[in-house]
Amino acid sequence: MRYPDDVRYTAEHEWARLENGIITIGVTSYATEQLGDVVFVELPEIGVRLEALKTFGVIEAVKTVSDLFAPVSGEVLERNGALSDNPALVNQDPFGEGWILRLRPSDPGEYAKLMSNVDYERHVEEQHA
């Protein structure tokens, strides 16, 4: 499989991983391929409440910029501080070291509604076609 099965996906190419009631979010490898070299990630403050499918930040490459959409609603618990020094982590390891935020979800039902890796791969293929 091109995309890991331990996370769920949005149509806007974010992923979310649920562990011990906390959701980690990031962008997919497809997104980073499309963006190219990521140079800056603008993140919300800790404590901010995000709303599902609304923008919460911006990811910038050299000549493109893309809004980041929250996969689920919740409160920001942690930001990946390593990205401010080394935004390339998003390119190098999008599903791991390149994670973006950790949230405490406010609506547990939302996570289940996100796409599986199989659905996401199909979604990507459709976009390409």
Binding site: G36, D37, V39, F40, E60, A61, V62, K63, P87, A88
Partner: protein, 486 residues
């Protein structure tokens, strides 16, 4: 060619200095006495370099630039045509260069006459009632035009309600950016399958909140909007104003007047259509032409030719949006444009658009054999190819652009407009000869073959330029924006 190893600050040093200033020939007093209580700066860490070395430095830098006087520059939407030398000479005449903008109308009749003449000729060429020459560039003109339309709506009591501007998805980035600048909201409408305005989408977007429709004609794909009269009629029926982005006026000049298409206002990039040089990024000038009903809102002052044959600056314009520039706009650039218009005359103007269109269509048909041509209609002064067919070789449009540099021509505009995948936007202009077009086409054809046979050659391109591909990611991640002191 060797890249200069050192910046000015890394050359010379204490004891080196440039041209001398005269000794002070008036009685001097200590600075502390003349400027009591004023804190002076401790030091100015600037270069210390002799005049010959400064001259060499910038001469050497100049050799690293591609430029119109050296070779083909097919940048779409940029109209990189030849810049006549006589225009430079005339703009530099001491009578113009040494005129102070606050010297008064009587002492600057020559400048004012030129301004009034620029206003008159541009109005005639574009088919509008009046022109302001204050905006310094196209985007500045867009903002000025939007402010005039805003003032118009306000004067009719519709200022609060009409705050939306409809812009097609093929528009230049300056359009939505200018819309935001005046506090309006951009409503993007998708282009139709033929890349022109989709009238249904327009109809859906138009309502009593629409302040204006902004359109580029021909559009950024190089196509004349076949239903442009319908677009402006629909917009007016909804109470909106129509703005034409004049970046592509080179296709229409002498042949079609935007005022006749139903537009209320447009800007003109004189550094495109009227051949003033680009200067490595400016200065340009962005005069704005308006229909009669918008004339009261023009920025102050306006040059007005009086009955007695003298020109004065008119400040008494109670409905004016105000000033948009410190003084008179990019005056000496407008002088160049005036010289150019007078050199061409009526027939010459029409010849510009004729040959620009001919050149573009010729290149388009030739290159359509090697590259995808998403919109096969006859184009105007430019056209857009897609490099998507090369993706199967792992080659991107950027690689094609970089490889072209090895052939001594500049790359086309790439990845714009956004509605064409892997876009290559090509504008040859009228001043390129058949031989130049041929050389460019041959280079493009060869690159298409190279893509299939030796993709790596393209990935590593350019090979013959003073520097190779630069690490832009590094430049953005840790921007070094000024020199460090050695």
């Amino acid at each position: 060619m060797i890249m200069p190893r050192r910046l000015l600050i890394e050359q010379g040093g204490a004891g080196h200095r440039g041209p001398a200033l005269p000794a002070c020939d008036v009685p001097q007093r200590p600075l502390a006495e003349l400027l009591p209580g004023v804190v002076l700066r401790a030091e100015l860490v600037f270069p210390q370099v002799s005049e010959p070395e400064v001259v060499r430095h910038f001469t050497e830098l100049s050799t690293l630039n591609h430029h119109v006087d050296r070779g083909f520059y097919p940048l779409g939407s940029c109209t990189m045509k030849y810049n006549p030398k006589i225009d430079e000479e005339l703009a530099g005449l001491a009578g113009f260069a040494k005129a102070h903008p606050l010297a008064g109308d009587d002492a600057t009749q020559g400048c004012l006459r030129a301004m009034a003449e620029v206003q008159r000729l541009l109005a005639e060429i574009t088919g509008f009632a009046a022109v302001t020459t204050q905006p310094a560039a196209g985007a500045h003109g867009e903002m000025t035009g939007l402010l005039m339309m805003r003032a118009y709506h306000r004067s009719r009591g519709e200022g609060e309600r009409r705050r939306r501007v409809i812009v097609p998805d093929s528009a230049h980035g300056t359009n939505p950016a200018s819309v935001s600048l005046v506090g309006y909201e951009t409503v993007v409408i998708p282009s139709g399958p033929d890349a022109t305005v989709d009238l249904d989408a327009l109809a859906k977007a138009l309502d009593d909140r629409t302040a204006a429709v902004m359109l580029t004609v021909p559009n950024t794909v190089g196509l004349f909007e076949p239903r442009v009269l319908e677009v402006t009629r629909m917009a007016h029926a909804a109470g909106a104003q129509c703005y034409m982005d004049g970046a592509n006026l080179n296709a229409l000049v002498g042949r079609v007047r935007p005022g006749d298409l139903g537009f209320d206002v447009m800007h003109i990039n004189v550094h495109k259509t009227f051949s003033t040089p680009h200067g490595g990024g400016g200065p340009g000038a962005g005069p704005v032409a308006v229909a009669k009903h918008l004339e009261p809102f023009l920025p102050t002052p306006v040059a007005v030719l009086q009955q007695d044959g003298r020109v004065r600056l008119d400040w008494e314009r109670p409905q004016s949006i105000g000033r948009v520039h410190s003084f008179n706009g990019n005056f000496s650039i407008l002088l160049r444009a005036l010289a150019y218009m007078l050199t061409l005359g009526p027939e010459g103007l029409a010849e510009v658009s004729r040959v620009a269109i001919l050149n573009a269509n010729y290149l388009m048909r030739r290159l359509a054999k090697s590259y995808d041509l998403p919109n096969p209609q006859a184009c105007m002064h430019e056209f857009v190819l897609s490099g998507r067919g090369l993706k199967k070789y792992g080659v991107r449009t950027l690689d094609v652009a970089k490889r072209l540099l090895d052939f001594g021509v500049h790359a086309p505009t790439v990845y714009f407009p956004l509605i064409v995948e892997e876009a290559l936007m090509i504008e040859p202009t009228e001043t390129e000869t058949f031989d130049r077009l041929d050389h460019f086409a041959t280079a493009m054809e060869r690159i298409a073959v190279e893509a299939a046979e030796d993709a790596e050659l393209l990935h590593q391109a350019p090979h013959t330029t003073p520097v190779g591909r630069l690490d832009e990611a590094r430049a953005s991640r840790e921007p070094r924006l000024r020199w460090s002191i050695p």
